[in-house]
Amino acid sequence: MLAMLSVELRKLNRSLAAVLALAAPSLMGAFLFFVLLRGTKPAVWSSWLQASTQIWAYFMLPMSVTALTALVAHMEHGPRAWDHLRALPVPRWRIYAAKALCVIALVLVMTGLNLLVSCAAISAAGALKPLVAPKGAPDLAHLLALNGKVVAAAVLLIAIQLWTALRFSSFVPALALGIGGTFFSVVATNAKEGVFFPWQMPVNMLAGDPARVSTALSLGCGLGLVALVLAVLHLARREVL
């Protein structure tokens, strides 16, 4: 399994998926930087970093997962690499399991980068315009835990997107699903049922109601792991004609 994981990580070298992993958090940093420059009061670390995490969990994470899973799957669909991979003396479930672990790791890295880039953007804006320089210190332990829960709650979303992207050789089904899911998540932000909607589960980690947090976290992570196992088994068993 380690060999398969190492192969999956090496495939990302100079890939569009790797570019996306850097670009999405960087966009968040740029957004924060310019918004802060328009401010007239000193920034408060915790509120800005909380806002950054919220935007990430609400919109950027679901969109990034959609694009990332499509790009990772297309690395095999594009050059029709499945036949070559599946003809090798490697258990097929490992091929798909390694891909799933790799995508989850990438989402974790992107979420961490979002936090890091946000810190850098707040500091840079404060250095350029001392009026908005942040006061106090960020509660990093709390933010790391919060971002960790965001990624854990996103596992179901990742599983659904990856399953679709690997199953269909065309970009269209995975992109339509991801865009549709994010759209409904945005337009139905206040719906109580949103806690059961995979695209809204990550942002529910920032909800004030602890019941919503625990429901979204257990469903997103628990069902997500079940969905990943089912996806791996299904993809490993099916014939790629």
Binding site: R10, R14, A81, R86
Partner: protein
């Protein structure tokens, strides 16, 4: 000679269509086996079953005695494959692509240098595959198939995209492979001329059925050759030889020999009939069957010559 690849009554159905129908083929060890057939005849489906990529609807396939359906991993360890779709990652270099496969095979890093040397790709191995020509990708795909020195190579159209020099190199390489490494080569192609120069054995698949198989030299000898003749009145000659199978040839007529009939004796008898009838015989002689002739006879009587060449 033991079989490196063996199938028994192999079948594969796609819905109502039987793509491979009762194929029992034997590829002897150290043979270069040319697998021939038109597009859609069942070649790729058969190769995919041999690689364990699709499951047979019936029958069995074995690689060096290992049943693919029962132990795909053990069978896959014995096979290196070059597939029509190369499946390279364009963002990686040639060497990096090989390194991925080497890692999964558990092959040492020096294997990469060895196979790059064989296909003469060392100089370009550090370039990204996205910038490779089709011929370079084909060579790299062959290098990847050779990783770990598998005893069986399954090659789908290995000369695709190669320039004439590349084709000649590939031909020489494949022909010498069994002697140099002890490997068995199964290659599918529609280039009959190429197969004729490389293969020791051939199998012809038509409409999903294996219609001909055996050592190429034996097939050439067994399948009755034709007598080519040219007279001053070919139409009348055709009438005179009405008891035989006569068809128009490029110049004159082609008279098929009967099974077991000696070509020289037949030529003498034909000459006698024609001369006695008052015809002037300008040319008369046996024509050895090329692989294309054999193929056209058993699998595709209507196959246009230009395509086959």
């Amino acid at each position: 000679m033991a079989a490196a690849i063996e199938t028994e009554h192999l079948r594969r159905r796609f819905g109502a269509r039987l793509a491979v129908d009762d194929v029992s083929m034997t590829v002897p060890e150290r043979a270069v086996y040319g697998f021939l057939g038109r597009n859609g005849a069942g070649k790729t489906t058969t190769l995919k079953m041999l690689l364990g990529l699709i499951r047979p609807s019936g029958g069995a396939a074995r690689i060096h005695g290992v049943d693919i359906a029962r132990d795909r991993m053990a069978a896959a360890r014995k096979v290196g494959a070059l597939l029509e779709a190369h499946g390279f990652y364009g963002n990686l270099t040639g060497a990096e692509n090989l390194a991925l496969t080497a890692t999964l095979l558990g092959a040492p890093a020096r294997e990469i240098d060895r196979v790059l040397e064989i296909v003469e790709m060392r100089a370009d191995a550090g370039r990204k595959v996205a910038g490779y020509s089709l011929g370079m990708r084909q060579r790299l795909a062959l290098a990847r198939a050779l990783l770990g020195a598998p005893p069986v190579l399954i090659l789908d159209e290995p000369t695709n995209g190669l320039d004439p020099d590349g084709i000649a190199d590939m031909r020489g390489f494949l022909r010498s492979l069994p002697e140099r490494t002890g490997a068995t080569v199964l290659l599918s192609s529609h280039l009959l001329g190429e197969i004729e120069q490389i293969a020791t054995h051939v199998g012809v698949i038509h409409d999903g059925r294996l219609v001909l198989e055996g050592p190429l030299s034996r097939l050439k000898a067994d399948l009755a050759p034709e007598i080519l003749l040219r007279t001053d009145d070919d139409a009348r000659a055709r009438t005179l030889l009405g008891g035989r199978s006569v068809s128009p040839a490029d110049t004159g007529l082609a008279v098929a020999l009967r099974p077991g009939e000696d070509a020289d004796q037949a030529a003498a008898a034909l000459n006698q009939i024609l001369v006695q009838a008052g015809l002037a015989v300008f040319a008369l002689g046996a024509r050895e069957q090329s692989l294309e002739d054999i193929y056209r006879r058993v699998a595709a009587p209507a196959y246009p010559k230009a395509e086959a060449a």
